[in-house]
Amino acid sequence: MLDKVLLSDASLQEIDNELDKYPKDRRQSALLAALRIAQEEHNWLSDELIEYVAEVIGVPPVRAFEVATFYSMYDLKPVGRHKINVCTNISCMLRGCDQIVNYLQNKLGIGFGETTADGKFTLKEVECLAACAGAPMMQIGRDYYENLSPEKIDTILQALP
């Protein structure tokens, strides 16, 4: 029994659409997508939300928890309004991502995995996001920003609400 409803009708409908992609007795397959949908609505996955998603899918909560803790793109702690994922993998490293990382950390006053006091930005270090041609790069929300320089970062961050 779902005591509390933690997701909007739209999100639940989206999860239903995902469930339709798999055989009826393979509902667990939609777990990955369902957790993503839940995270998009709430910005991060609380324990309560993970358990709720598990109930929606019909699997034991620990199964959803395993998935949520396995993939680094799920956020299990609150994150800022904008999540900045900076790639530090080889291509970006060769193209000077260290400087970019330093600049971002100094500008925002936070380290990796931290959130600014105003709750606006979270900085995360990620592996290759498959945009090596535009290294160094970062991802904010769903958008890629490539060929970064300190000046460019200033403009990008300023433009964000």
């Binding site: 324990d47 358990e51 034991p60 620990v62 928890f65 395993e66 803790t69 396995f70 993939y71």
Partner: protein
Amino acid sequence: MTTVTIEVDGKSLPAQAGEMLICVTDRNDIYIPRFCYHEKLSIAANCRMCLVEVENAPKPMPACATPVMDGMKVFTRSKYAQTAQQGTMEFLLINHPLDCPVCDQGGECPLQDQAMDYGSDDSRFLEKKRSLPSHDIGPLIATEMTRCIHCTRCVRFGEEVAGVVELGAPGRGEHMQIGTFLNRSIDSEVSGNMIDLCPVGALTSKPYRFAARSWELQNHPGISPHDCLGTNINIQTLRDQVERVLPIDNPEINQCWLADRDRYSYEAVNSEQRLTQPMIKDGRKWREVDWETAINHATAGITTVLNSGSGNDIGKGIGGLAAASSTLEEFYLLQKLIRNMGSDNVDHRLQQCDFRDDNIAPRFPASEIQIQHYNNLAAVLLVGSNIRKEQPLLALRLRDGCNKKGTKISAINPVDFDFNFDTVESDVAAGGQMVRSLATQAAHVAQIKSAELPFDIKKIADSNPGFEQTANNLVAAGENGLIIIGALAQQHTDASLLKAISQWICDTTGCKLAVLGCANSAAGWIAQCVPGDNGMNAGQMLGQNGSAGLRCFILLGTEPELDSIDGKSALATLNKAEFVVQISAFKSASVMKYADVLLPMAAFTESAGTYINCEGRIQNAKVAVTPKGEARPGWKILRVMGNFLELNGFEQITIDDVTEEINLTDITPSCRLVELQFHPTLSSGEKSTPDLMESDSLIRVVDMPMYRAEVTLRHARALQQTADNPPPAAGLNPATASRLQLNDGNRVKVQNQSGSATLELRTNDRLAENCVYVPAGFMETTDLGRHVRVTVKKIE
């Protein structure tokens, strides 16, 4: 299946094509080391310990996940294989703390043993080991997760065997750790098996923690007395004290599993509440005495009652009641003692209230299908059975059959129990509705088989069809189908009718029948610890608040105020009786109020005895430890009482002398009534089972929770703390609760003709509507007696 030949270490072996290499080597006593592989679990192949050399394979192959092929050449101890095994072992030990001296698993640890046999004597790992916090996951299992090697046996056991996914493996890579969601407790009724499965000391038994080292323990094979399976146990003792109980593998009964009830009940044996000295009541004060004084006091009291009777009435005022978990010999001697005194009032069925079919009863409650075939059924109908809590290991077999053979299981129960197998159809019906639901199925069967439906069934069957598939499934299954009469049906006020209708369905469809009696009840019947034609049954002896007029009771291992479904009347009867002899391993405040003599009895680990399971299988348990204090085996106490009462036939010297007296020939498990009789339901007076349609009153659903059903379990400390043993509460369907304007968590007064109980309300949508679930087995609910019609009011 085609047979192939493979060669292992130069030996030519036959094998089934496609089976895994490790199965072949195990069968031929060639040992390959392993951690994650277990014959009862799926193959994970994640520990890599079973690597062997296979000719022409480009790399070492895991024996647990390598199917055999014709002509395959395998080397398990070649240099190549050994290097691979040593490498794996070195890797597994990277994070293992090697704290064997303080680890309970030390000495019986596959990791320790295999590190000696297959590991190298050195490690190249000089970095820091990772360590993990351990969490409290309940009263039964202690965790030390730093020791875990991530074989996932425990996780697979939960998912595949127990049917409850509680443990998982969150995290990735080095951060992966076995645990429960938010460190919740593990509540499965068979959770202790994870301890046996764990190949390291990550999961160990909490009650056994630091109690002994495995090599100091002595093993004593025994039989678990708690359900009708006769589970084989290994009672491990140190310095004459039971320290642990483990399963003994018996593929025909318990396989390698054990229910937590069988595993942890031994704690009661060492409990502080043990009665260790004979005691007699002088006026109102209790004092400890020696055996002779106690038995003299007991027999004097009994004789006084005997002598006050006259002529044919001599002895009629005496009644004997035995716990269902007593041994065959105890049952036998108790009934012999009672009968030799001229009484026929002897019984062990304290949880039953409908005895109308006693005169046509079969020899003992039984299962017509052997335990080992419970995995192979085509269709099952559970009638009033929460089999998962009543016979946990049978539920595991049904689950296995359901998953592998597609057993179609249906249930008619007052609660839609949370089974660990899928049900095809489940009718939530309490009281009279349960009888009606079953009768309706009989009507379906009659229709399908074009059989004539007996009028007595017809008049209660519902025109509303109810289930659609169950009858079809049973008919289709024929002799591969089974109807199980569970504890809730046997405790039902119309139990005799439920049994008769089930039997009619079985007769008509060819299905088999199983009446799964509680504990060692089969032995109780076979030893004739049931009333004869002139005797009173447990219900009559204890019923009507003592108006049956029994003046003297001999109680064997039972506390009727808690063991009986009608605790209130039992208590009133015993308080009213002139003389009560309690032969028990435990003392309690309520017993000390009504008893006049307390005779300390040996617990199940301390006494030899015979157990007969639902298949009619006779198993003997031997003594594992000396009885505590002055306690003596029940059979000896009864025999000496017989001597002191100067009765004939109490000259036995050993327990075998007692067993020999009992007729154990021709024990065919049949639970069919000798003659099919349909006892009328809804009879006059207080309706035996009121219908549910009247809206002003509610029907009480009574259940004996799994860890409250006998005195031993009530003293097992850890079991009492489990989630399966919540404090008594009043369960109510949310719809019924809202109709009565009650909410979850309210304090409510449940009242009926007998009395009342003040309980917390718990809404439960698995419960039938217009019912209140109030468990028996608690002093808090004793007052409600057996009256089923109750009211529930909120306490402001």
